[in-house]
Amino acid sequence: MSLAELDALDRRLINRLQEGLPLSPRPFAAVAGELGVAEDALLERLARLRASGVLSRFGPMYHAERLGGGLTLAALAVPEADFERVSEAVNAFPEVAHNYRREHTLNMWFVLATETPSRIAEVIEAIEAATGLPVYNMPKEEEFHVRLHLPV
């Protein structure tokens, strides 16, 4: 599904569901009522948007630290010739929640989420061993804002 294939209702649904699903007994029925569609039609569309990759995920967004876990942003400066190998090595760690290529000398940026705060350092060491590259660890010292909303 491309952007051009999204119809007006898909767009309203994507915009509305970035805001959050209500914690009520029939949450999809509640949102369907707001948008003026049937619950089963909404569920079908949402499943299609998720299956086609327009939505990466649909579900609870957990706050890693408040789950008692560790979280950090880390970066590597990867030589171009090694990029695919290093990318595979880094992605193989289940603790890597997401990983982006960025245009900079530090060209690989990934988020680590671990069961416990102390585990972060161990995973970083393991990534350094697996890639042969030093990891720049940039843990959050203060969170000013987290609220992704991409109107479509």
């Binding site: 327009v54 609870p60 876990g69 290529r101 705060p117």
Partner: protein, 180 residues
């Protein structure tokens, strides 16, 4: 020659959030996504051996405690036409950063905003703000607004555009209980 900062401030040990084994089972059952069915709580309940009412009650409590930020759709930026995703990084005077960070975070279009440690001499930037646009020009216009707001306190900045999503699964706890 490691440059990692291994001593971040330790978060408080777990369970000050009051999560028990039942809550944890719900986290494990839902971290990959919520079932797309009329009664998602009941569906999750069947997987973890609880009633739908109990699942909903526990998820509400986790939401109230901030363990769940929200239950939401996470779009693939690129697929929605947001092809310019810029991590803007700023070298901001330490004495001003907390006040300015809060101000920058409130600017329209900033999705995530954090203070992070510098890694001198290679990396002088201590304020991170994510911007998303349909073109790089759009992101540059947004960044100019941030630049204006930061004023004299900002020595330097960069925009690091993402050129590829290499992985995007969200956080994943494993089945084993954590050991402190």
């Amino acid at each position: 020659m490691s440059v990692s900062t291994c001593r971040s401030r330790e978060a408080p040990v777990r369970d000050d959030q009051g999560l028990d084994a039942h809550d944890r089972a719900i986290v494990l059952a839902t971290q990959a996504g919520l079932p797309l069915v009329p009664d998602p709580w009941g569906e999750v309940g069947q997987r973890v051996g609880m009633s739908g009412e109990e699942v909903l009650e526990r998820m509400r409590a986790m939401h109230e405690r901030g363990v769940i930020r929200r239950i939401a759709a996470v779009p693939n930026h690129y697929r929605l036409g947001y092809v310019a995703n810029g991590m803007t990084v700023w070298d901001v005077d330490d004495a001003e950063i907390d006040r300015l960070g809060r101000e920058v975070a409130a600017i329209e279009g900033v999705s995530h905003c954090y203070r992070r440690p510098r890694h001198l001499p290679h990396w002088p930037y201590n304020l991170f703000a994510m911007l998303h646009g349909r073109s790089r020009e759009e992101v540059e216009r947004q960044a100019a607004v941030l630049r204006e707001r930061l004023g004299e306190a900002c020595r330097d900045h960069r925009i690091l555009y993402s050129s590829r999503i290499l992985k995007k699964t969200g956080l994943r706890l494993s089945r084993r209980a954590p050991q402190e």
